[in-house]
Amino acid sequence: MKGSPKAHEMIWLYRTMCRIRAFETKVQELFAANMIPGFVHLSIGEEAVAAGVSSVLRPDDYITSTHRGHGHVLAKGAEPRRMMAELFGKRTGYCKGKGGSMHIADFGVGVLGANGVVAGGFPIAVGAGLSCKLRGTDQVVVCYFGDGASNRGPVHEAMNMASIWKLPVLFVCENNQYASTTAMSYSTSVERIALRAAGYSMPGLTVDGNDVLAVREAAAQAVARARAGGGPTLLEALTYRLRGHFEGDPQRYRKREEVEEAMGRDPISRLASTLRKKKLLPEDLEKSIRKEVQEEIQEAVRFAQESPYPEPEEALEDLYAGDVAQAARGGLA
């Protein structure tokens, strides 16, 4: 994975970012049109982190994700149609309508779950890393988190534990500058989250998180290190959340100019321009990628819309794996 990515790998990065953007832009529209219930947290503007990191992962590697996880999950290989169906609350969704946007998992492609609790993925990622070590595999675990999560206790327990056991875990901080509505400059004791790696004797790197090639390169090194038994790395990707914390967020905590300025650093346009310079993205290819992606997302929406809602009684299913009848015998499941 080391060295400059090949042409097809760069196109994969571009396509993956476009897919995430298209998925979330569509979700934004559908949510505004009242077609998706609940809360929605979009990662528009942060796509380079998920794409760059996932580009160096294998299908059997694991990730833990966050409440802002559509991108992580898509980039790891989840199907947009089952994700969209889940967002609609349909039976054909990844979680049969029991999870929604914040709880998408696809164990078939190593997605151990998005998480509604900020920093909730850390201990799980450490456990998955321990499991890889105990089973003697060379799988790697990526734990995505935000700058806000970095101030929670489990982060520190997890980094310490991953370090002492040299677990194959890559902690990826998607630093989008705001913990919900609170600026990192106010909430965080360090200027760079990556500095905290020193407290746990692991490498800590900060990269431009809107430069997908930089993210990819740093992730490739960290993943190679983890796979070879060298232990965890903390990778901080500096990026920016172009939408609110949640859809509908009045965003009183930042100025419009700040967001507009950040739009100029859009990671997708940036890669497109690099690719054009390298003559890797001729106009017809760019058009066909955008068309394919749009069609895929349209198809996902159609699938979600046409899928049935679960029957109300299905709310009582899937609680226990074992002897369900026995578990239910205790009373109402």
Binding site: L112, F122, P123, G127, L130, R329
Partner: protein
């Protein structure tokens, strides 16, 4: 039943040894395990017998419980030692919010073969941070199974089953009963989760209970038998799934019920059981259900204070006296 007697600690170690031999995906993780063999000696011999599979951790209960979950999701069967039931408070997100819910909120995609084991209970002047019985919190949490046996036979059979179970099991053992001996057969056996055990047959009333209160109930029953009162003692062993059929059988036989636990009385498991008996078996009852539990204060340190707060055999006798409407 065999003549062989083991302590609860020995029964537990034997269960773990058998399961670790049987299944290489079983491992133990927690604090003070390897050099010390667990703070109650419950893992003695296992670190040597299974190198690398009994894993010492830093003092990081949040991450210990959560790492158990992460390992359970990826092909292992972790047995997590949380040191004291009180410390589940520092791992509550991992237990109640993550482990309990992951299978459900992900639509049944995954199994969670995880045991969270912790000693609970008072009576050792361990004060407010090392004495609680918190089982009701976990019974209240959908997705968990909860076990709390008191005799070595049950401890061994239930630990083996809990390890083989594909759902998260929170397993409590009262810290005053680790040295308690009892018969344990040499040959292998399992006890299904959700199966209560009649520890004593009687005809006048039933004490529905679990953990150390089973022993207190048996002691009280002996005293009450001298008064001509015949007490049935039903040991729930598993608190969820609850063996409702066994409760129904016994209530329909004796028509009078005491529900007893060492945990705080208010909103304890006894409240749930009493409510359900009154909802579903009202016509069987000859008297209102009487509950026994601790007073609603944190556990005090000084022996006379602690003794006053937690229930013992005398509390069951008082409850029976109230139930039968006569001075004993």
């Amino acid at each position: 039943m065999s003549d062989r007697e083991l302590t609860n600690t020995e029964a537990m170690a034997e269960a773990l040894r058998e399961e670790m031999t049987r299944d290489p995906s079983v491992f133990i993780v927690g604090e003070d395990l390897v050099a010390h063999g667990g703070i109650f000696g419950q893992f003695k011999g296992l670190p040597e017998a299974f190198p690398g599979r009994v894993i010492d951790t830093p003092i990081s209960e949040t991450c210990i419980a959560g790492a158990g979950l992460g390992a359970a999701l990826t092909g292992m069967r972790p047995f997590v030692d949380l040191h004291f039931a009180d410390f589940t408070t520092t791992a509550m997100d991992e237990i109640a919010n993550q482990a309990a819910k992951i299978r459900y909120m992900f639509g049944g995609q995954v199994k969670v073969p995880l045991v969270i084991w912790a000693p609970d209970g008072a009576g050792l002047s361990a004060a407010a941070h090392h004495s609680q019985s918190l089982e009701a919190w976990f019974v209240h949490t959908p997705g968990l199974k909860v076990v709390s046996p008191c005799l070595p036979y049950d401890v061994k059979g239930l630990i083996k089953t809990a390890i083989r179970d594909d759902d998260p099991v929170v397993f409590f053992m009262h810290k005053k009963i680790f040295g308690r001996k009892g018969p344990v057969p040499e040959q292998e056996y399992l006890i299904p989760l959700g199966q209560a055990d009649l520890k004593l047959e009687g005809s006048d009333l039933t004490v529905i209970t679990y953990s150390i209160m089973v022993l207190h109930a048996l002691e009280a029953a002996q005293e009450l038998s001298r008064e001509g009162i015949s007490v049935e003692v039903l040991d729930l062993r598993t608190l969820w799934p609850l063996d409702w059929e066994a409760i129904q059988r016994s209530v329909s036989k004796t028509h009078r019920v005491v529900v007893a636990h060492e945990a705080c009385l208010t909103a304890g498991l006894g409240a749930e059981i009493a409510a359900r008996i009154q909802e579903e078996l009202f016509d069987e009852l000859d008297a209102p259900v009487v509950r026994v539990g601790a007073k609603r204060v944190p556990h005090p340190f000084s022996p006379p204070l602690e003794k006053f707060v937690i229930p013992g055999p005398h509390s069951i006798i008082e409850a029976v006296s109230k139930l039968l409407g006569k001075q004993i």
